[in-house]
């Protein structure tokens, strides 16, 4: 299977502190890969390096063999949820997405389609500052899906979602994978992710602990038990 995303000895240091320490891993196309680890493990930093928002201290993070910055029309190939904020609070959901459409050469008509996909069709004209955290997460997902990209990079997309929202997210991820998309989804909620992902990368303190298909990693245990086993080795 083709490699969609590749970390090669990725290292990121902030003021002498190693946030990511020589992370090497590959994410295969058309699968949901969980990028798991406790808070502060370095997941978000690694994803920020992957998306060109932070410059690696050394090593590389590539999408289909290129850095994000060198992709032609990146938003049309990669959708990302990095932060549920990131919207103009005084503007409606629709206008926030229209701003992104203009930047990424996406037809304006697509806005209503994605808002419907994330069940926000009744809040099109509502100001984002009036949104709950869960609604903001859905809007972030809508922004990521705007261009119908082949690769989705989602950083803690379940944050703020209620149990119904989490179930909805699981179904969404599954349907995206079924349509052949590659999804890299980070989370610190291991129990919830074990029902959603095909493969896992587990990191702790910036270092890769284990990578592989979820059943191989779990070895009959829950993901949480398996994680503790790997960390305590």
């Amino acid at each position: 299977m083709a490699v969609a995303i590749e970390f090669d000895k990725l290292t990121k240091e902030y003021d002498g502190v190693l946030a990511v320490d020589e992370l090497s891993a590959s994410i295969e196309s058309g699968r949901i890969t969980g990028f798991l680890g406790p808070n502060g493990a370095g997941k978000s930093t690694a994803l920020r390096c992957l998306l060109g928002l932070a410059k690696p201290t050394s090593g590389s993070a590539l999408i289909e063999g290129s850095t994000y910055g060198s992709l032609l029309k990146p938003l049309q190939r990669v959708g990302a949820v990095i932060d549920s904020a990131g919207f103009h609070g005084s503007l409606s959901a629709q206008r926030n997405l229209l701003i992104i459409c203009a930047a990424a050469e996406i037809p304006d008509l697509r806005v209503m389609e994605v808002l419907t996909m994330v069940d926000l069709e009744d809040s099109v004209n509502k100001k984002v500052k009036e949104f709950s955290l869960g609604m903001k997460q859905r809007l972030s997902l809508a922004a990521a899906l705007l261009s119908d990209p082949d690769i989705l990079i989602l950083d803690e997309p379940a944050n703020g979602l209620d149990p119904i929202g989490i179930a909805w997210l699981r179904d969404l991820l599954r349907s995206l994978a079924q349509s052949g998309k590659t999804v890299l989804v980070s989370s610190h909620q291991l129990a919830e992710m074990q029902n959603s992902v095909d493969d896992v990368l587990v990191i702790n303190k910036g270092k890769l602990i284990v990578a592989g298909q979820i059943d191989e990693v779990r070895q009959g245990q829950s993901l949480e038990e398996a994680f503790l086993r790997y960390v305590q080795r």
Binding site: L51, I82, A85, G86, I99, I100, A102
Partner: protein, 262 residues
């Protein structure tokens, strides 16, 4: 072009631009309308303070340029607002080539700053025109209006870029806006009033020089002296103001390219 369109949508959808025009117009009218009365009351301090002196009338109309602070604030919010609203991530994801983002913001800062000044200065000049109707006065010099509008455009564009650079360097929008207001309206004005040798090199001093108003003001009580012969020639002042904005734009580009996006 796509990024420009996206930035334009941000400007048109949010209130910052409209509020900047309103604020600049308010300050411009506040400066220009009472100025004939103030000038008349302060006649003893101003040489040839007669409203029959066209230079005095030019000076009164130049008060309409007072709204430039809002071009600066517009520029500051254009960049610092991205970090306040935390939209910087989405902007840079749409265009990972950050240089393109900064270029499009620079163009918006130039255009937006110039439009803010053009509107506020025009309305301020109209205010001065009606205020002067209450006094017997002569007409301004024939070059006054084109100079005023030209200065408005140049100042708005340049100060807009300077504001953008401040917003790039100081990502906390509240600190950047407050600092800009305090600097432009208090610190710089004090320097220009009381130390024209140094003040003439600052944006306010350059703006004063660009209006080429040949009126001397002196006060023994306040200790300030305004003598146009101390200021740069209008052309040099305009060139220096543009130079400042070019340097500020270069700093904005360099800082944006080198920083991680939070």
């Amino acid at each position: 072009m796509n990024l420009f369109k996206s930035e334009l949508r941000k400007v048109l959808y949010t209130k910052t631009f409209r509020l900047s025009i309103l604020g600049a117009t308010f300050i411009s009218l506040l400066s220009s309308i009472p100025s004939p009365y103030i000038t008349q009351q302060a006649g003893g301090l101003i040489q040839n303070a007669s409203f029959m002196n066209p230079e005095i009338i030019n000076g009164l109309y130049s008060k309409a340029l007072a709204g430039y602070l809002f071009s600066a604030i517009f520029g500051v919010i254009l960049m610092a607002g991205e970090f306040k609203e935390m939209t910087a991530v989405r902007t840079f994801l749409a265009s990972p080539k950050r240089i393109h983002v900064v270029y499009s913001k620079l163009v918006i800062a130039v255009l937006g700053g110039a439009i803010i000044m053009l509107i506020s200065t025009t309305l301020g000049a109209v205010g001065a025109y009606f205020a002067l109707k209450h006094y017997p006065h002569t007409a301004p010099t024939s070059s006054m209006l084109p100079t005023l509008l030209g200065d408005a455009l140049l100042t708005g564009a340049s100060i807009g870029v300077l504001g953008l650079a401040v917003g790039t360097l100081i990502r906390n929008q509240n600190i950047a806006v407050t600092g800009t207001i305090i600097y432009l309206y208090i610190v710089e004005r004090m320097i220009v009033l009381f130390w024209s040798t140094g003040g003439k090199w600052l944006p306010s001093g350059l703006l004063t020089a660009m209006m080429n108003v040949n009126v001397k003001i002196s006060s023994k009580i306040g200790g300030f002296n305004y003598d146009p012969s101390n200021y740069l020639k209008p052309t040099y002042a305009a060139m220096l103001l543009v130079g400042y904005s070019v340097i500020a734009g270069a700093i904005a580009i360099k800082v944006s390219l080198s920083r991680d996006i939070d």
